[in-house]
C-alpha cells in the first residue's frame, strides 16, 4: 500500500510542481521572493563605488531584512499564493474533481499537494536566500568572506537562514493549505493569520507559541539591535524577549505543521464539489 501511495504522491507532485513553477499567475511569487535582493545588490554596488564597506553592518542588514521583511511578508504572502491555490485554486478553476475521481485517498491527495507546495516554496525562497546572500556580500574582499564563512560564523548563519526559510514554508504552508481546504475566500483567513502573526510581540507567552513567527524568530541566528528612538511597533515585530532554542523551535514548528496537515486531511475527506457556488 505504501508503494501505491508513494507512486500516487509522486504523480500528484509531478502535476502540481509543473503548475506552480511555470504558471504565469505565479510570477509575482518569484518577484516577491527576489525583491530583497535588489536593494541588497544596489547597496553592494554603492558601497563598492564609495569604498565604504562595513561587513558587520551588512550582517545586521541581512538579519533585519530577513526577519522584518522576508519572513513576515515575502514568505508569508508567497505561501498564501502557493499553498492556498493547491485546493482553492483548483476549485476556482473547476478542476479539483480531476484528483477526486482518481482512486486516491483524499489524505494522500492532500499530502501530495502539500509536498509539491513545499518543494516549490522551499526551492524558491531558499534559492532567494542564497541570491540575497551573494548580492549583499559579493563586494567584500574574498579573504574577509572566506574568513567569515569558513572560520567565522558565516556558514552556520547561512544554514540557519536557510533552515528558517524552509521552516517558514513548512509552517505557513501547512496553515494556508488548511485554510484553502476550509475556507471559500482565502483573503479572510490570510488577513486574520497576518494579524495574529503581527501581534506575536504582544501576545502572552502561551499564545505566541501557537504562531509560526515565534518559532521562526528563534531559529534566526542574529539578534537585531533595538532601533534608535521609541519605535515600539518595530520593536514588537523584531524582538522576542523569550526565544526558544533553535532545535526546540524546529521540532515545535514541525509538530505544529504536522497537526495542521492531519487536521486538514481529516477535513479533506468531506470536500464536496460545488463549483457553482465558488
Amino acid at each position: 500500500m505504501m508503494t501505491l501511495w508513494n507512486r500516487q504522491i509522486l504523480a500528484i507532485m509531478r502535476i502540481d510542481l509543473a503548475k506552480t513553477f511555470f504558471a504565469k499567475r505565479g510570477l509575482w511569487i518569484y518577484l516577491l521572493a527576489l525583491s530583497p535582493a535588489v536593494p541588497m545588490l544596489l547597496h553592494s554596488l554603492l558601497d563598492r563605488h564609495e569604498g565604504n564597506s562595513d561587513f558587520g553592518q551588512d550582517v545586521q542588514i541581512f538579519a533585519g531584512i530577513f526577519q522584518f521583511f522576508y519572513l513576515r511578508i515575502a514568505i508569508f504572502f508567497g505561501c498564501v499564493g502557493i499553498f492556498m491555490n493547491l485546493f482553492r485554486g483548483e476549485m476556482v478553476d473547476k478542476s479539483l474533481h480531476y484528483y477526486l475521481l482518481a482512486p486516491v485517498r483524499r489524505e494522500v491527495i492532500l499530502v501530495g499537494k502539500f509536498l509539491s507546495g513545499l518543494v516549490a516554496s522551499v526551492t524558491i525562497f531558499c534559492g532567494s536566500v542564497l541570491v540575497q546572500w551573494c548580492s549583499l556580500f559579493c563586494h567584500h574582499p574574498a579573504s574577509l568572506l572566506n574568513s567569515y564563512m569558513f572560520t567565522g560564523p558565516g556558514a552556520s548563519h547561512l544554514v540557519s537562514y536557510l533552515v528558517a526559510a524552509a521552516c517558514a514554508c513548512v509552517g505557513y504552508g501547512s496553515v494556508f493549505l488548511a485554510a484553502g481546504v476550509l475556507f471559500r475566500n482565502p483573503l479572510i483567513p490570510a488577513a486574520v493569520i497576518l494579524l495574529w502573526e503581527s501581534a506575536d510581540g504582544i501576545l502572552p507567552a502561551l499564545l505566541k507559541k501557537i504562531s509560526v513567527i515565534y518559532w521562526l524568530k528563534s531559529i534566526c541566528p542574529i539578534s537585531i539591535p533595538s532601533p534608535k528612538g521609541n519605535n515600539s511597533i518595530l520593536n514588537l515585530l523584531i524582538f522576542d524577549v523569550d526565544p526558544a532554542p533553535a532545535r526546540v523551535a524546529i521540532l515545535n514548528l514541525m509538530l505544529l505543521a504536522g497537526f495542521v496537515v492531519v487536521w486538514a486531511a481529516i477535513r479533506a475527506r468531506r470536500i464536496e464539489i460545488g463549483y457553482g457556488s465558488e
Binding site: 500528484i12 502535476i15 511555470f22 478553476d93 473547476k94 474533481h97 480531476y98 475521481l101 482518481a102 482512486p103
Partner: protein, 311 residues
C-alpha cells in the same frame, strides 16, 4: 452486487433541494437520466460518483462505496459536465496524468492513454493544449479520461453537448459498444429525442424527484390515464377514420398532416390492434402501424407537462 443502488437518497444544499428520496437499482446497459435543467441530474451523478455526499440515504456501485476511493474509482469512470481542466496540460497529458494517479506502470499508463484517446478519435489533436480545444474536443478528451482505466461503470454528464453530427454518431456507437460489453453506462441528457437512440432504460427526473424509471415502452404502458397514440400509415386515412369512429376503443382519430396516415388515440391498444386487423380486411391498405408516443419526449410531457420538458 452488479448494480448501481441508491437507497432513499436525498441531498439538500442548505434549504435548497438537490434530489429527494431517490431509490433506484440501475442494471448494466445504457441508462439515460432525463430531465430539464435543474431537475437534479448532475446532483444525482455527483452523488453516485462521490463528489457529493448524501444528506440522507446510501449509495453503492457494484457493491463499492465512494468512501473507499482506492477500489471505487477503479470501477467507476466519470466525465463531468464541468469544463475545467488542470492548467497547461495537453490532451495527452490530461489522460496520462490521470492514469498515473492509479499507480499503473509507465508502460501501461502510456498504452492505456493512447488506447482511450484513439477510441474517441483524438490522436492527432492530443498533443495540443486543452486550452486551445474546441468544445467538442474537450468533450471527447473528458470521455477518453473517463474510459481510460476501463471502468465497469461509466457516468457521463451531458456527453453529447457540443459534438458535431459525425462525432455524435461515433460517440453514440461507442456508448453502444460499451453497453454491449456489459458495462453500466449512465448518461444524462436534456435532449429527449437523443435518449430514444441511445438508451436501454430511462430515469426521468423533475425538481429533484425521480418521476419514472424503466424501459421506455414499459414506462409508457404504465401511464394508463393517457391514451396511447398510434400512427397508421395507409392509402385512405379519411375512410379509415370514418370506420374507426364507430368503435368505443378509439378516443380520437385525426388525419396526419401529410395526409398519408391517421393518428389514433386509444385506451386499449391490444383490442385496437385486433380491430385494425379486421378493418384491414375490408379494403383499406395499411402499410404500417407504430406507436407514436412511446418516445422519451412524449412520456416526459405526459408525466411532467410540456412546459417543463422544453426548458
Amino acid at each position: 452486487m452488479d448494480a448501481i443502488i441508491l437507497d432513499n437518497v436525498s441531498k439538500f444544499y442548505g434549504e435548497v433541494l438537490g434530489v429527494n428520496k431517490v431509490t433506484l437499482s440501475i442494471p448494466p446497459g445504457i441508462t439515460s437520466l432525463v430531465g430539464p435543467n435543474g431537475s437534479g441530474k448532475t446532483t444525482l451523478m455527483n452523488l453516485i460518483a462521490g463528489l457529493l455526499q448524501p444528506t440522507r440515504g446510501g449509495i453503492s456501485v457494484c457493491g463499492l462505496s465512494p468512501s473507499d476511493p482506492e477500489h471505487f474509482f477503479r470501477t467507476l469512470g466519470y466525465a463531468t459536465q464541468y469544463d475545467g481542466f488542470p492548467r497547461g496540460l495537453t490532451g495527452w497529458e490530461f489522460v496520462r496524468n490521470y492514469l498515473r494517479l492509479f499507480g499503473f506502470s509507465p508502460k501501461d499508463t502510456e498504452r492505456m492513454a493512447w488506447e482511450s484517446i484513439d477510441r474517441v478519435g483524438l490522436r492527432e489533436a492530443s498533443q495540443r493544449k486543452i486550452a486551445g480545444f474546441s468544445k467538442g474536443m474537450r468533450q471527447r478528451i473528458k470521455l477518453a479520461q473517463a474510459i481510460a482505466h476501463r471502468p465497469k461503470v461509466l457516468v457521463l454528464d451531458e456527453p453529447l453537448n457540443g459534438l458535431d453530427p459525425l462525432a455524435r454518431a461515433e460517440t453514440i456507437a461507442l456508448f453502444r459498444e460499451l453497453g454491449n460489453e456489459g458495462s453500466h453506462v449512465l448518461i444524462s441528457s436534456h435532449i429527449l429525442h437523443e435518449v430514444d437512440l441511445i438508451s436501454d432504460q430511462v430515469i426521468m427526473m423533475s425538481q429533484g424527484y425521480v418521476v419514472a424509471e424503466g424501459q421506455i415502452r414499459g414506462v409508457r404502458d404504465e401511464i394508463s390515464e393517457q391514451p396511447m397514440q398510434v400512427l397508421i400509415r395507409c392509402d385512405k386515412p379519411d375512410v379509415l377514420a370514418s370506420q374507426l369512429f364507430h368503435h368505443s376503443q378509439v378516443v380520437e382519430a385525426k388525419v396526419h398532416a401529410d395526409r398519408g396516415g391517421l393518428l389514433v388515440r386509444t385506451h386499449h391498444a391490444e383490442s385496437f390492434y385486433k380491430l385494425l386487423n379486421r378493418i384491414a380486411l375490408d379494403g383499406v391498405r395499411i402499410e404500417s402501424v407504430a406507436p407514436a408516443d412511446d418516445d422519451a419526449q412524449s412520456i416526459y410531457e405526459y408525466l411532467i407537462g410540456s412546459e417543463e420538458s422544453t426548458k
